[in-house]
Symmetry: C2
Subunit: 257 residues, 2 copies
Amino acid sequence: MDPDVAAIAKLFADHTRATVLATLMSGRAHTAGELANEAGVAPSTMSAHLNQLLAVGAIETVAQGRHRYVRLADPRLADVFEALALAAPAKPVRSLRTFTHGEHLRRARSCYDHLAGQVAVEMADGLFASGAFCDDGDGLNLTDSGGDRLRAVGVDVDAARARAATTRRRFATRCLDWSERTDHLAGALGAAILTAARDHGWVASGPVHRSLAVTPAGEAVFDHLSDVRAGTAAGDAARTVPQVGRPSWAAQDGQAP
Amino acid sequence: MDPDVAAIAKLFADHTRATVLATLMSGRAHTAGELANEAGVAPSTMSAHLNQLLAVGAIETVAQGRHRYVRLADPRLADVFEALALAAPAKPVRSLRTFTHGEHLRRARSCYDHLAGQVAVEMADGLFASGAFCDDGDGLNLTDSGGDRLRAVGVDVDAARARAATTRRRFATRCLDWSERTDHLAGALGAAILTAARDHGWVASGPVHRSLAVTPAGEAVFDHLSDVRAGTAAGDAARTVPQVGRPSWAAQDGQAP
DNA sequence: CGGTCCGTTCGGCGCGCAGCGAAACGTTGC
DNA sequence: GCAACGTTTCGCTGCGCGCCGAACGGACCG
């Protein structure tokens, strides 16, 4: 009965898997090696555990070079974890040493032709959370309110859409940020935002290759775009955040004949 | 780390234990045999599982005759279960066939010298939830507001307290109701309530032995006493509900030196 | 005071699964 | 190119533990 409570509990019932899930609760992505090191098991053992979690749709992986980043696939697991932790109120996990990339590169940089780094993920978080995007099966699409917000600050949304159509490039998509381990925005729209940022003087070339310096004007714009409440009437905003496919352990009630 | 998430998850990770906990989520108590039957395992197997749950303080048992009733010991487990059930919003479990005791006896009856049956547990629930009692280590004690409520309807609280002192009988205590499988009120105070109920005509003798018929006047009084909001300012009312000992898996953080 | 019923403890069986090392594979970088 | 590295797959080992049947101990009923 139910969406098999025991099956879900089993995911957390092993100490190694529990550590993995706890580490991923921050929302950041980690490599298999990091997780193996953190949990104190052999890489092969960790690989097996990740396969289990992957099989039931609890995590998703992003291949990137010779690394393979792993992250939570379903935010509801955070609720489960918090309930299992009982008294412990969502401790801020920071045991894992995050690489101290050069500060210049961490704050803001270009990634191919779009924006990356802290400001990029903060902006993307704010836009996602405020319902600026919806998920058509193949990438992201702007909602009306999201389009208005970007146009208002000077991003040429329509040019990006036209370019996406002619070059068959994705209009907008998530892209894993290698310093922040969280998604920023890529695709034709991401490129348009970086173009706007250069044209309007939000950013200037930084001291090292590909690094970007955020100007005071840019801080204001990025702050505005990162603000969740700046979106729609904020009612069912969170509901329009892109959804990944339903995990297999959420047994669909009312099976279609 | 944590109050060992994996250890708590293990409790739910077995299908048999998950069924047990799901059955107990209603708050009612069940016998080991019932649970074994419900889960489809041998009594000996169920006994082992109950021992596990007992060892970590997840459940508590009440010996009564040759039955041994089992019930949840920590309400926080309900939160865990609900989170694990994910989408499923607290289904109203009613798979287990509750014995159809004679209706006369189920509604209201006397249990030794106090009141039992549906009206008794409803009244007790309401009084507990509205903060009428607090738990001194050995039984229950009335709070000021609780004493006022009972005196207001005509229960001789002070006589009960005097009798408890002279006879060394418990003033008030929980007593497991065998038809409702939930606590009602016993002790000197419980006896005083039954006395008041007879004296004021809230109940009359029923058709079968020990059964009681609730009069219209009695319905009004019991409804009033069952009403949670009729208690104190309802602020931290729930906090004064008697607490059982902390379960062993809730590792106390900040260990004293 | 036996017969019955409920529940526990004990011994034993067998599966599930977490763990490791060795080897193979693809990627990156010199 | 070749070497170094991260990751996966494979084969294997061992323990944990869920399950049962049989036997024992109280509690109720006649």
